[in-house]
Subunit: 418 residues, 2 copies
């Protein structure tokens, strides 16, 4: 056997940790370096925390995610604000690879940082915070005084055909999306935010995603989902500013003002019926998706990025891309030009004890300027007709308003509290 190259990443930073002092790696400089050299160790790269928009949306999709939705336990508005301030400070530290506090402080107190990410570096960690519809409502009459500020775009998602939603893995007052190149860095971030929020919030549900299924820049290669197909070939790219401004970011003229430069997140836990899919023929799989399995080319094409020609007919006079094919129904052209930014991850949580089948699939997350013209019409169409419905089922769902980013000194969600 060999020591293996993977070792380097954990060693790299081990020497840089002065006990209790944390460590700084790269800073914003690391960002520029990464652009220059593809060989930079991703564990050392910092994604900027502060900015006009929150990180983790336009950011090139990292390899791993730990997502969590929280219930708020307090009804006191100032405690909620204090939590958001604390979370902001902690998030800014963790984004640079620092612990949230001295892990070797007072021996008579719990460690301020839980420690499992101490030597792992920033690993491109981004933390993206969102507010669920329930934050703007009871229990009781408008507990936080926020009801009047609920965005119209944060309308409850309608029920979709075939949904089998489990309320224990759906919804939430708050959400945090932690994405990183290292799953332990992402897990650590959620755990420490939960620890910081103890008594004020409790995790309602959480999902680990082990592999990205989206590219969010033109430079990223398209990954494969657990159907074995390339996913997200025509995704919105975070570095495509006009498309982001038109489709993803809440604009200056949109209401409410506190959401400007923010966006809306829809998350869906989509179980795949993997065993059934694996028994399906390649031809039927390709007709179901509308693409070739290995090349990723649209049916009728040769290369992944060939134009999707929805009008093309075969020699038999039938559409080359079937009417029920997933890519036809999901295409912007079928949906009035609507574009959403997908940022999904594959997951597996062992075996479903009811069915004896693998509990795995796609943790789908998408960002958009308005879910009422984004996810909702697309999913309505897919739920009604998508050939893929034979092989998938939506079992969890969340909707969140993602407030704008902040400058140093601010806190996430500050515009909501005015």
């Amino acid at each position: 056997m060999t020591a293996g190259p993977a070792i380097s990443r954990r060693r790299l930073l081990a020497g840089g940790l002065a006990a209790g002092a944390g460590f700084a790696v790269g800073g914003l400089g690391g960002f520029g370096v990464a652009r220059e050299s593809q060989a930079a160790d991703p564990q050392t790269v910092v994604e900027p925390f502060y900015g006009v928009h929150q990180a983790g949306i336009a950011t090139a999709a990292q390899e791993r995610i730990q997502f969590a939705a929280f219930d708020v336990l307090t009804s006191k508005r100032d405690e909620l604000q204090a939590l958001l301030r604390s979370w902001t400070s902690a998030a800014a530290l963790m984004a640079t690879g620092k612990p949230v506090g001295d892990p070797a402080g007072d021996p008579n107190a719990p460690p301020i940082d839980t420690g499992e990410a101490l030597e792992l570096g920033p690993a491109r960690l981004t933390l993206t915070f969102g507010f669920g519809p329930s934050l703007f409502a009871g229990p009781g009459p408008d507990r936080f005084g926020l009801a009047a500020l609920r965005p119209a775009a944060l309308a409850d998602l309608p029920p979709f055909a075939h949904d089998e939603l489990d309320p224990t893995i759906s919804d939430g007052d708050l959400c945090v999306q932690a994405c990183a190149e290292d799953p332990q860095v992402a897990f650590h971030a959620i755990r420490d935010l939960a620890r910081i929020g103890r008594g004020t919030v409790a995790i309602r549900w959480a999902q680990l995603g082990f592999g990205r299924t989206s590219s969010t820049t033109a430079a990223q290669a398209t990954p494969r989902n657990l159907l074995g197909f390339l996913d997200g070939t025509n995704n919105v790219h975070g570095d495509d500013q006009p498309t982001m401004d038109a489709n993803i970011w809440v604009a200056a003229g949109d209401d409410p003002p506190w959401m400007r430069a923010g966006t809306y997140l829809v998350a869906r836990r989509i179980r795949m019926r993997i065993e059934a899919w694996d028994r399906d023929s390649r031809g039927d799989q390709e007709a179901t998706i509308g693409r070739h399995k290995v090349s990723g080319a649209p049916l009728g094409g040769v290369n992944e990025r060939d134009t999707v020609d929805l009008a093309a007919l075969g020699p038999d006079g039938k559409p080359v891309i079937p009417m029920a094919a997933h890519i036809r129904l999901a295409a912007p052209a079928t949906n009035g030009g609507i574009r959403i930014l997908r940022r999904g991850y594959s997951f597996t949580d062992g075996i479903d004890s009811l069915t004896g089948q693998l509990d795995g699939g796609l943790f789908f997350a998408c960002f958009q300027r308005d879910p009422r013209t984004g996810f909702v019409p697309v999913q309505t169409r897919l739920a009604a007709s998508d050939a893929l419905n034979e092989y998938i089922v939506h079992v969890g769902s969340g909707l969140f308003a993602v407030p704008p980013g902040i400058a140093e000194g601010g806190y996430i969600g500050q515009t909501l509290f005015g």
Copy 2:
């Protein structure tokens, strides 16, 4: 945002895939290259599949694991042998980064490879196969005619104090440990082995582990577990041949002969009571483990690898390392010099719906020459007295005989069938 360095790994191989032809990367040569250069992309490194011992034991621990235990559905010995032959062929292909068959073959048949790892490379994948006690028994009288060949060392594990084992995530006729630098490569391997075995085997339980908690060579830095402590500082190293031969590998003189050069695996799913641990003071955490949190040094020491002095007394006349400290009770010196090779991984599977707490912890796996003198006495002592028991609970358990490795042309478990 930036395209980020992580992109390189998925791009690296994308160009090398001729449709339907699979691809070969590195071969055994990649192994040697990795030893020379720590900068090699771990996605491209091949671990040898063939050898005296199975891979994935002495191999430098990879970052990720997908483990699965299987029930055998057939009672026909020749079908079991045929399965092991098929699994061997598939494993040998996947270990070199190749698909298990042409993913663009007959469009009227299911794809021979499910495809989600096509561009990901070998990623140091190892597949390690084991036989559970139930393979040597019924249902019915000795279904495979193997009862007489059951190793005495494969004695059922005794019940341990505080065990809360769930039978749905315990035991199994067969097991496969898939370790890799990429979780999707590990997941793909288990999925395709399950697909190949359909009708003959069914997955009984499965566990994804997102971060290694063991070093298994001297060159690997010690990782942290979810307690935030360095774990496995004094682990057996796979490249320490005398220790491996004395403690881990079944020796030439051991019975039964078919297990020679094999080993025994004990796997335990250990839930951590993370929220309770995170409320504990640093001093108490350190007394519980017997080490300092940040440095990893044994209490009374300064550096991680300082000698663990179990006899040292403090100024108060009490042991510096408390009598109930985890490292004291687990130390070889406390257990008659017994050494086991630990190869554990951190896991999280969301929220425990009963308690609302994080379902996370340590997927503990260890290898040894004989569990009756390895895991069993150590765990008996830990279960009785370990201060850590306040914060952990064993909820899943598996015991497996891991047969020797094979030369090309052989199949895993061949010595069992004579």
